[in-house]
Structures are given as C-alpha cells and as structure tokens.
Amino acid sequence: MDEKITVALAGNPNSGKTSIFNMLTGARQHVGNYPGVTVEKKTGLCSHKGFKITVVDLPGTYSLTAYSIEELVARSFLVEEKPDVVVDIVDASNIERNLYLATQLIEMNVPLVLAFNMSDIAKRNGLVFDINQLSKLLETAIVTTVGNKGKGKAELLDAIVQTAQHSRSKRTHKVSYGEEIETELASLKAVLAEEEPALTRKYGSEWLVIKLLEDDSDINAKVHSEKTLDSVRASVNHLRDIFGDDPSIIIADRRYGFISGACQETIKSTIESRHSTSDMIDTIVTNRILGLPIFLVLMYLVFLLTFKTGEYPMGWLEQFFDWAGKAIAGFWPVGSENWLKSLLVDGVIGGVGGVLVFLPNILLLFLAIAVLEDSGYMARAAFIMDNIMHKIGLHGKSFIPMLIGFGCSIPAIMGTRILENRRNRFTTIMVIPLMSCGARLTIYMLIIPAFFPEKWRGPVLWLIYMIGIVLAIICIKVLRLTVFKGETTPFVMELPPYRMPTLKSVYLHMWQRGWLYLRKAGTIILAVSIVLWAAMSYPKPSAESLAGLTTEQAQQAKLAYSVIGRIGQAIEPALKPIGFDWKIGTALIGATAAKEVFVSQLGIVYAVGSADEGSQTLREKLQANYTPLTAFCIMLFCLISTPCIATIVTTGRETNSWRWALFQFFGLTALAYVITLIVYQLGSLIVP
C-alpha cells in the first residue's frame, strides 16, 4: 500500500520555486485559491520509491511575518496543515538573502530540506559550497538543483522521503539572539506556559515568544490574556531602551548574523565579481532615452501577439461554433420553431461560444506575460512605467493590464494579478473597462461611417478612445482619493538577473491561468446567456398577430413583445434626455451579454434581419432615424457604460466580492448616463 507524504515548497520570489514545482509534478497540477483570499494555490502529485507525494506550492515570500497576505497564507498552511516535509528553495547565487526565510522555517521547527537551486549560475559566478559542512551547521539536508533543467530531481525526492520518514533530533545549533533578548524570551516562555496553554500546544512556545517580541499582529490577536500582552510590552520596552531600536530589527539582524557566520565558513568565491551580462543589458533597457521606446515596442508586440495572431484561432473557433449551431439545428425540420432548438443554438452555443472564442487571445496573453516575467524583463518594465503611473496614482505595473484592456477586458482584469497591492489592483480593475475594448469597436465601425463624412472618421474614432483614457485617469484619481485611499506602495523591488525562459515553464504558466479563465468565466456566463436568451425570446406574440409580416418584420415584432423589448420600451422616458429611444434601449440591454450583440440587436429592431457592422442597409436606417449628435452619444454611452456580463463576473471573481463588481456595474452606468446627458443637452443647444 502506498504511503502518502505532503510536501510544501517555500522560497523567495525569483528563486526558481515554480520550476522546481514543475520539475517534481510535471503536468499533474491543479491551480486554485487559498480559501477566502485571492492568493493562488498550486498543488501537484508525484511518486517516488513507493510514496505518493502531494506537493503544495506556497506563495513566494522573503519572510514569514504578518505584514502581507502571502506570508500569512504560507505561515498558516505550515501551522494548520503540518506538511510532512517543507522544502525551502534557495537561489544559490544569492544565498545570504535567501537563507533568511530558512532561519524562520528553522524557528518554526518544521521538517526542512534546503534546495540550492540555480546552482549552475552559482557555479558560473565562481561560488563554491561546502555542502556537507553547511548542512551540519544548519542541521538540515541540502540538495543542489537546477530547476529549469530538471537536475537534482532524484536527489531532492530522496531527501524528501528520508526527512519524512526519520524522526528528527532536537536542534543544537540555533540562532542566538544575544543575551538580552534570550533573557526576555525565556521569561515570556514562562508566562506563556501559564497563560496560554492552548496556543503553546498549537504553535510551540519557542516560535511564539519570538513572534510576540516582533510584535506580530496575527499572533497578538490570538493571545487571550492581558497578562501575556503586558509582559510582552514590558519586554519590548526594556529591549528598546537597551538597543535604541525595535526588537524586531535586532532579531532580524541576528538572523542575518547567523547566516553570515555559517556562510563565511562554508562558501568561497573564486572569481572576482565583474560587470555581469545582466548589468550590460540593463544599461540599454533602462537607459534614460532608450528605455521608454523599447518598452513601448515590446508592449506593442505583446498586443500584436495577443490580438492579431489570436485572430486566426478566434476565426476557427467562430466557424466551429457556427457549424455546431447549424448541426444542432439540423436535428429539427428546417424553419421550425422549437424552444429546445432555440435554447441550444441561440442560448447555449451563442453564450458558450461567445466565451470560448476568447480563449486563444487569453492564452496568448498569458504566454506573453509568462515570457516577460520569466526572463526578468517585467521588473524593469514596472520601473520604467512607474514614474508616469505614480503621478496618476498607480503602480508602474498597472500599465500592462490596462494596455491589454484595449483588446479585451477579461484577460486584462485577470492580468491585474501581477499587482501585489490590493488598492492598486482594485483601482486598476475598476477602470479597465474604460480602455475601449475590441467588441466596442464593432459598434463604432457601424455608426461612424453612417454619420460622419470620410475626413472626420479617423479623428472621431481617436476622440472616443482618448475620452476613455482621460476618463480613466480622472476616475483613478477620484478612486484613490476616496474609496481606495491610501499611500501608493513605496517602490522597492528585487531586480533579478535576466534569464532565458524555458519553453516548458512558459507553457505551464500559460495553461495554469488559461484553464482558470475557462472554468470560472464559462460557467457563470453560460448561465447568464441562457437567462438573456429567455428574456429575448419570451413571451412570444401569437401566430395571428404575426400573419402577413415579412420574416424581418416578424422578428421585430417578437422582440418588441419579449421581456427585453418591454423593458426597453419601459425605460424609454429615461433614455429620452440622452437622445435615445426604446429601440436603442433594447440593443443596449442585449449588449450586456456581449458588446457585439448591440449591433445584431439593432439589426433586429430595425427589421434588417441578421446584421453585422458592415451592413449598409442598417446604416441607412440609422441615418434616417438619428442625428450625428445622437450617434456620437450612442458611442459615448457604449464606451463608458457597464461592460459586458463577462467583465462583471471576472471582476467579481478577481476581487472575490460581488460588492465591487456591482459597484463597477452601477458606477460606470451612472457615469455613462451623466456624461451622455451633459454632452447631448449641450450638444442640442450648439448643433441644430
């Protein structure tokens, strides 16, 4: 019978943790979220020497304090789930900083294995390790690996299995925090033994007292008795007097001292450090003159990749769904009306197809992001944009999802995961729909040629896009002053050396995120599409009332009779002040499913049959019924107003809260109404 082991992978960001995870688990991976938070949780499986191993990839962290959600999540996992082995993945070319996390894991007394990753780079930089000696000093098994080349896998698995099986002897070499702190720690241990037995049992008093001295907010909240807190406060004040600094700083210092000592004995550098290739690339890439243009070119390439190249598979998928629709309709006699047929063809295939059609775009986008991240360029890009974004009130990295928003909001909102700060992330998500997306372009392509002379067409289109951007900037400023008030995170970011991303890791990165999109967006959107379909198709007028009408006129009558049609007519009074009528209203409601639907709905309502943006007949009808001012207002409203259901759902998922999704929905709709109102009313005064 196979024995089971759970292994948790910990490590700094940029230590190559993901490549180790991929190396161990191959394709047998699953991505989800830690309960209640938008922190990615990856688990995978592998087997070795008769053991079934579950590998959990913890979020990358520099330490295990309570100051960030990633650290809290990692810490909670270690305490609550008590994995059999913890592997700390250490960037061997950057060892001292990376070992800081290891000292914390040692303090937590978890069964530990250290993986010295990127050992090829360390070797190239001339670092020589006495692994045996270091292993003895740290009292921990150490394995050397090169994650992205798959080296060291067997040795790592051996170490894991061995550590899981053998009971550990008590540690003899520990970080010594110095006499003054050790005294306080000892006295606090005594207090804890009396006052907090439950807590001590769960976390171990060794670790608890260190956290208390560090003023850990998470642990402080868990303490029961006032006496404990008083004792801690007294100790902290006492130490502050002696050292002139917070105990947490001293403790951090002592940890690094311990590491330094261990490393000095066991690690030798044989080559003098010289100007590495990374530095040379950086002088060009972050050059004051070349930096921004290089960045813009790269962004343009990402954009091209996502949308131009994506067009081909998108086209194939569209054709496929077209065919599927016809194939299913073929089960019923031609021209027959059947609710099931309509549900399947218009509702399900229309709805599901509408979502799946985005998949190529999204995969390509995630591919591009994976390449940028893995190569190390993303860190530089964030900095280049930071100056500009900071003036608006956002972090440099926000630029990337906003750029993607010009193609489609959904991958853009999902792309905000690269923003660590919650305030920045939410603000960015809220305004992404103002980056006029590709679907809205179909509306502009219908309307602009119908109402504006050739010379004006380009400028009008450009104007619409610019209005979107300007509004976004205003909204960001407002949001940052009100709802998402607070300091922008001070900019500090590790600058990893440039690396060649491997095909395998990039591919896996891409699929992990793509699959999430499919699974989550697909289920809700399918449901909503069905609801919208029902509202568009029912109730149906009686056959007599349709007698004598052409197919198009019949379609028009049916729409007017349906729930959506009636709603459209009911809200007409509200639409009049902005220059719209019930027909536009119906099209707008339909457009909540997907913006492209606006055009086809308008086609139905004007009895033009199936229309797309190239339809000349539809254009003529529109020209006959509306003024250029109204036409401009339509585009304005579509630009600003509530994005399609898919966007709302994605916002809800990514912010983990329907409150924000609804805020976005109503906020944008209200904004659209107000602005269109102003433009229309003023316009009516100026233009006859």
């Binding site: 900083r97 210092d253 590790e494």
Partner: protein, 77 residues
Amino acid sequence: MQDKHLQPLSAIATGETVKLAKIEAGRGLNSRLASMGLLPNVEITVVRNSHPGPFVISVKGSKMMLGRGMAHKIMVL
C-alpha cells in the same frame, strides 16, 4: 554623534558603498526591508543613481530597485 555624517541614500553617487544607519518608515515597511536584507550596519553599494531611471542598489549580493521616495527614507553613513 552619528547625525553629523548621516545622509539619505538618494544622495549617494553611483559606485559608492555605504552603511545603513536607519530607515525612516513605519514598522511594516521596516520589516519588509529588513527581511530583504536592509538592516542597520549592512553594506549597500549603489549600482545606479541616475535621474530619471531606476535607483539600483546591491545588498548582500542581490540587486534591488528602489523608488526615489524610498531612497530618501534610508539614512546611511
């Protein structure tokens, strides 16, 4: 006694190495920077101080980028 030579990191020229004295920031930020190696007495080498462009330092063998506001808050000797 120390204050005589205390300067903000942002004033240090490219290529120079200094020692960190203190960070003028709240506990959360202090802790984060500490875990990344920025502790009192640690040696910081300024890899790049050019306006505009990133402020890059090297600490304990690893490179970091700082915003200028950040660099103002780090006091060094």
